[in-house]
């Protein structure tokens, strides 16, 4: 495997995580509204490992849709709101690799202001935070299903977060891991790409769905709900693939814990 080109490092130059340090949850807009279970599983996971969790209620979006569409001026307004909301928090954790990448890698493109870049670099993707900051590799979960893994491209290439997800899945009891053919390839979601170039996006998604079917898995798990929304939409359209469920990794890591 080729190592990611230049993942942007999270901010770890400060005092390391101390037991009892509170964590601010960043629950991206589409998870908040359409997949609240993912947010709940994330909160439970962190709490169970002794992390006090807070949810800054002013939060909205990371600004990525406008940023990727070229509307950086509009994205800047939303990013400033993000920074006002999270500015006082040292540790920010999000169950979305893509939104984390927006904060950590791209905030500086929109506004190179030190405060904005600083807040962005304090955002961690959930599995990364569990493994690399808390040192947790076994969440005590049981998930007796044939499962395959799709890691979103922003998580893989912008953040370089691949190992934490694999480590955590390895220790889930009962889980049968199914290798996904061409797992490094994009699923075709790409945010507004999915509706701007819908034909191409669907062609890519179809290939991903066929590979998932070929893996023999009953469940696709991912640290990125946005990819899953697109993949699930395609699976549900196809009678032969309808039985395959999509789950965010937080839901799997939280499953069946006594």
């Amino acid at each position: 495997m080729i190592t990611p080109a230049n993942p942007t490092a999270p901010r770890q130059d400060d005092p390391p995580y101390q037991k009892g340090d509170p964590v601010a949850l960043f629950i991206p807009c589409y998870i908040d509204q359409f997949y609240p279970g993912v947010g709940e599983a994330t909160a439970r996971l962190l709490t169970r490992h002794g992390v006090p969790v807070v949810f800054p209620e002013q939060q909205t979006c990371c600004g990525q849709p406008a940023f990727n569409s070229g509307y950086w001026e509009e994205a800047r307004r939303v990013i400033h709101h993000f920074c006002d909301t999270f500015g006082d928090h040292r540790w920010i954790v999000s169950p979305s690799g893509s939104c984390t990448a927006m904060c950590r890698v791209f905030f500086g493109h929109v506004d190179p202001d030190r405060r904005v870049v600083g807040v962005g670099r304090r955002v961690f993707e959930l599995t990364e935070f569990l493994v690399e900051i808390l040192g947790v590799t076994d969440t005590g979960a049981t998930f007796p299903h044939k499962t395959t893994l799709h890691i979103g491209c922003h998580t893989r290439r912008e953040l370089g977060v691949v190992e934490p997800t694999l480590k955590l899945l390895q220790n889930v009891r009962g889980l049968t891991y199914c290798e996904l053919p061409n797992m490094e390839e994009c699923c075709g979601f790409g945010g507004t790409f999915s509706v701007k170039l819908a034909g191409t996006s669907l062609a890519m998604g179809q290939t991903k769905a066929e590979n998932i079917l070929a893996s023999g898995a009953d469940v696709v798990v991912s640290p990125d709900t946005s990819c899953l929304m697109h993949i699930d939409g395609i699976l549900q359209r196809n009678p032969e693939m309808k039985h395959i469920r999509t789950k965010h990794i937080a839901e799997v890591l939280d499953a069946g814990v006594q």
Partner: protein
């Protein structure tokens, strides 16, 4: 520099609206071949422990070269001119075409054999030759096939990637009057037989340039078929075409690039032939035409400088899931794929190519394989930003207003809740609509919408919060 992109004969291709980007129509051969190449590419790179170091060296060398173009190009000109070459400069494709034509007329050229050159494609040189009554024959096998079929290359390294052996057999039967065959060796023999005669007849040979080495005044041309060597050395005149970005400071750095180019381009340790041309062969003529053609526009934008580091290996095309499905023609001009989506807007302007930076899911596979570590996805979002703010097909007032409304809704939690309630209602109601307009229709064309769940996460947060605390306490005991 003047706005010479309007003179580009190639640019009108972009007016075909890049249809294939929206509804993929790439060939099966192309999809399979690119996937195979890309896997091979990665496997080869993974075998070499110093691969990442090579990439970083190459990036730094190119960065230096591009930052010192003014000095290095002049040095190159001085050194190669001292050994009998004539160096000519062209600001745009029109000038370059005129220079080539002047040379051809001066020497009464009737037939030209051409080694592979993307700059020649950029100039639409074959059209110029045709209009002047000069016969030009492409000698790279892929280019030869594409020329016979009256098509344009679909890939910058492997121009006929979209064609199967059967397709080639049919083209040879139709255009050359050869009996049909789909046997690779047989087809190669046919091409070789026809091309050999051309080399002997030709009055002038042409080539592209992979690297122009400043300190020694050397042209480097790499190839696999021997056609490059024959095109540059058999006829009495050799005309080499190069973009200004091809210059390397020193021959000392060449091995890094040869190592990266062969492996990234075709999965070879080294190309079969590497020609180092230090000047004109006694008794023969050597011309080098150095072309800008919009490259200085790329240089003018600091965020896209690195696009000029490209060594045209094609690795990003092979790795790109969009390119694999839409093929090269969908990008509307000479340079397709991820790098093309940066280079084309630079060379012909965002006004005609402003859509290209949007033809990407920003997955980053291109950057991962790029031997020079060009930050392609980041440059694409940068160009998107420019495309919506500068004159371009993506600059739209209605979309601007939509995003302004979005930004207003997303910068306050009350407004956010209201907007989200509307989205939830919309998604709920969508299944009752007889048809789905615009972006909604684009989504539901091949995808189900997500089911709308109970209360949003934030709504039930306070309730869950107390549960979480009790859960937490019970865990600790």
């Amino acid at each position: 520099m003047s706005s010479h992109d309007l003179h580009l004969e190639g640019a009108p291709f972009l007016k075909e609206q890049n249809a294939g980007l929206y509804e993929p129509a790439g060939s099966k051969s192309l999809g399979e071949a690119t996937e195979r190449s890309s896997k091979q590419n990665r496997a080869i790179a993974a075998e070499i422990p110093s691969w990442q170091d090579w990439r970083e060296s190459a990036r730094q060398i190119k960065q230096f070269a591009i930052a010192n173009l003014d000095k290095l190009l002049v040095q190159f000109e001085e050194r190669i001119s001292a050994r009998g070459a004539t160096v000519l400069w062209a600001e745009n494709a029109e000038q370059a075409n005129r220079l080539v034509l002047d040379i051809a007329r001066e020497h009464h050229v009737k037939t030209v054999v051409k080694g592979k050159s993307m700059v020649s494609e950029e100039m639409e040189l074959n059209h110029t030759f045709e209009a002047a009554g000069i016969r030009a024959v492409e000698t790279d096998l892929g280019e030869y096939i594409v020329q016979l079929a009256h098509q344009r290359p679909t890939h910058i390294v492997t121009p006929a990637l979209h064609l199967s052996a059967e397709d080639v057999g049919k083209i040879f039967a139709e255009r050359l009057g050869e009996p049909f065959s789909a046997d690779h060796q047989h087809l190669t023999n046919v091409a070789r037989r026809h091309l050999r005669e051309e080399y002997l007849k030709a009055d002038m040979g042409m080539s592209g340039v992979n690297f122009a080495v400043a300190d020694t005044g050397t042209l480097v041309v790499v190839e696999n078929e021997g056609n490059g060597g024959l095109s540059t050395s058999t006829p009495p005149i050799h005309v080499a075409l190069m973009g200004i970005e091809k210059v390397l400071p020193s021959i000392y750095y060449l091995p890094v690039f040869l190592n990266l180019l062969g492996r990234s381009g075709t999965g070879q340790k080294l190309t079969t032939y590497t020609h180092l041309i230090h000047g004109a062969t006694p008794g023969k003529k050597l011309y080098v035409i150095i072309l800008d053609n919009g490259r200085t526009n790329v240089l003018a934008d600091p965020a896209t400088h690195a696009a000029l580091h490209c060594i045209r290996c094609g690795a990003c095309l092979n790795a790109c899931p969009v390119y694999r499905r839409v093929g090269g023609w969908a990008y509307g001009w000479v340079y397709p794929g991820p790098i093309g989506s940066i280079v084309t807007p630079g060379l012909v302007g965002l006004k005609s190519a402003g859509k290209l930076p949007f033809a990407s899911s920003l997955c980053g596979a291109c950057q991962e394989v790029c031997p020079i570590k060009i930050d392609i996805p980041h440059q694409l979002v940068h160009l998107r930003h420019r495309a919506v703010n500068e004159p371009s097909p993506m600059n739209s007032l209605s979309e601007r207003l939509t995003w302004k409304a979005w930004a207003w809704a997303m910068s306050g939690s009350k407004r956010y809740r209201l907007a989200m309630a509307a989205v939830r209602l919309g998604v709920r109601m969508a299944k009752f609509l007889p048809w789905h307009p615009g972006k909604l229709g684009a989504w539901t064309r091949g995808r189900e919408l997500p089911r709308v769940p109970g209360p949003a996460f934030r709504k039930s947060w306070s309730r869950h919060r107390s549960q979480l605390d009790s859960h937490d306490r019970s865990d600790r005991t």
